[in-house]
Symmetry: C2
Subunit: 441 residues, 2 copies
Amino acid sequence: MVPAQRHLAFLLSVFLAGATFAAAPQDPAGYPDADASDPARLGWMVGSPPPPDRILRFDDGSYFRFPAMRWSVSHFRQLMPTVNVSRGLGAPAPLPRALRGDIDGLVFQPLGSDRTMTWQASLKANYTDGIVVLHKGRIVYERYFGVLDQQGQHGAMSVTKSFIGTLAAMLAAEGTLDPSRRVAEYVPELASSAFGDATVRQVMDMTTGIRFSEDYADPDAEVWAHAAAGNPLPKPGDYTGPRSYYEFLQTVKPEGKHGEAFHYRTANTDALGWVLARASGKPVAQLLSERIWSRLGAEQDAYMTVDSTGTPFAGGGLNTGLRDLARFGEMIRNDGFFNGRQILPPAAVADIRRGGDPADFARAGYALLAGWTYRDMWWVTHNAHGAFTARGVHGQAIYVDPKAEMVIARFASHPVASNAANDPTSLPAYHALALHLMGSR
Amino acid sequence: MVPAQRHLAFLLSVFLAGATFAAAPQDPAGYPDADASDPARLGWMVGSPPPPDRILRFDDGSYFRFPAMRWSVSHFRQLMPTVNVSRGLGAPAPLPRALRGDIDGLVFQPLGSDRTMTWQASLKANYTDGIVVLHKGRIVYERYFGVLDQQGQHGAMSVTKSFIGTLAAMLAAEGTLDPSRRVAEYVPELASSAFGDATVRQVMDMTTGIRFSEDYADPDAEVWAHAAAGNPLPKPGDYTGPRSYYEFLQTVKPEGKHGEAFHYRTANTDALGWVLARASGKPVAQLLSERIWSRLGAEQDAYMTVDSTGTPFAGGGLNTGLRDLARFGEMIRNDGFFNGRQILPPAAVADIRRGGDPADFARAGYALLAGWTYRDMWWVTHNAHGAFTARGVHGQAIYVDPKAEMVIARFASHPVASNAANDPTSLPAYHALALHLMGSR
């Protein structure tokens, strides 16, 4: 490869890394369906060695092309460096099982459709890799597809943000972090960036006024610089941009005013991760392990991808086992209590559930999410059940329905990098299941 | 970086990756001692971000320079891609504790020295990162230094080989693998390499006649090509060599005859890993998890580094928690029985303990290891206690003393990449401790 080609390959890997995992409208048509794109069926990385056309690599971007991406989301650690999020060394907290046979046939109406769909059909429609449903703390439904199984770990992508927001809400409730203070008070290096004069609260709720385009079609979009900065591969010789997430954040320019509208921008979570690291003295992977993961009775360690300076990708780098994702959701549903202990202060969970400012959210213009708000990096539905959710761009989710005493954890690998592609066959299915479970208590 | 520089950096990372972790005589003088090189004291990768001179990288080789290497051996996954070796999802098998206070003061005589040393002093003399001693299955001694702790995972380096050899002995005892067959019968791709007409047994005992120099001072040494092939980073544009461990193995040329002498050469283990993958249909990381790690009651997942095609580095890529290394050793001491089940066939352990051919071993000329043999990638002392051991090049070890009912698991990061630097302060200490424990039963 000549240098120009090498640089192109680097940018391609950056792009396809989808390091920010942001929403970009795409045409869902033309992609193979769930069965045709099943990564087990396609045999990625099977064989010693795998056939050449079944080998996926990080550096040439092949790993994140659809349908290969469906293998990669369950194998990020085989593609790039990662940091462990230890579960500790004890026995896992049991998740009692009370499996039900009446869920697959549940019927719901997808958003924007005049036809109904069964729960079972929805799992293929939205490229589910695994799903666990807890009702009153017991597993009532559990399915795995493709290359994910109970012992696997899957990229949570933007569900990561809700973990980071939860850590921030926890430190705030404990008084270790003051959300009313300016970001620059915690991270002086961000003083002259757009983040500097934002409050920590504005970062936590993504109401900062920052220039951060996640339009992949625009070669000048900030998302490219963000991804290139965070790419753990050696930088090309002609590379002059920021070389880590933290270097990137210092380059972010203002756009609009802070505190006026919700703008979903991954850079906020990376900035919040930096604030947390300074407020706690610990990188977010360590903080997550010490304060939550090791106390949760998780059955598997989690992990986060890291940049070339070892900084965990707060905006989207977490990978976990599916049942552990459900344990985390169940802990949140129980106001921070799980595994025989109070893991989060109840005030932290109350702050999440209360939600954010409706007017701020409305300005973001999410057609499918009318009436929702965003708080502590969680999406709050404000529906009759008080449901709130963590959302990843390819369909990963934690969905907590307090009234139905239900928690859903889902991993998915939808070809379209936008929740607008997942929501029609997932949100109404979740709500229908909640009503069903409530009716049969 | 211009291409030549880039290629140089790549080779440097190859070299410093120490991918084969082979023994090369070096001068131990001039290195900072254990305290001065303590990675916690030196603050590698501490801070958000760490200071520039405390950041360690894989691609520029900085991570494997001494003393930085002392941090890296506990953090390989933060530097390169890895594959999980699942422990399963159940509760760990307890290791009962019966800590003793009479071990630190134990006195022994280092090899080649006319002065005595205490056990406690030996741990600093040989740059120990962590050590656990089991006596009759109970932890009688446990210490961690630097950046390793009970929840950490450390590179086992060539101790990996004994795991691979154990898997081979297991499959042989079960009849899945026939050690008398030629390598090419399992791996046709190796037919025209030096391995092709070797028996699996010769590979298992490293009595193959292959050309594989591990002389780092020689730029034409095969160890360079091996490491470059296994390096997971993108290959430089002018790179023309093999691009994976498996491609490298196909290039290995004969030197001497098979079956005449023991030659410690990492490539044998990689070839054995390939044979195992073909005989079992599973990559060694999966085989290790399914057949041993998930049945052992391990408290942590283990992991292996991988090359750019996802092949685990059988010759030295395993990383584990220290207590889990001890659990594995205890299982071997108990003839394959541990955690309430028969994990290995007793015949497999018997084959290891019986050892190899003394004449073959003697021809290798190890001054400090007179009377030893090598079998199934274990080192067998043939001392009065029937001790045998797994050995890593910077001092990692599993030491099993059947007569004393003792197992020692040790992680270390000695600056000199040769067991000749570790043995004088470890082997006699182990034996002295065995005698001490026997005397106080």
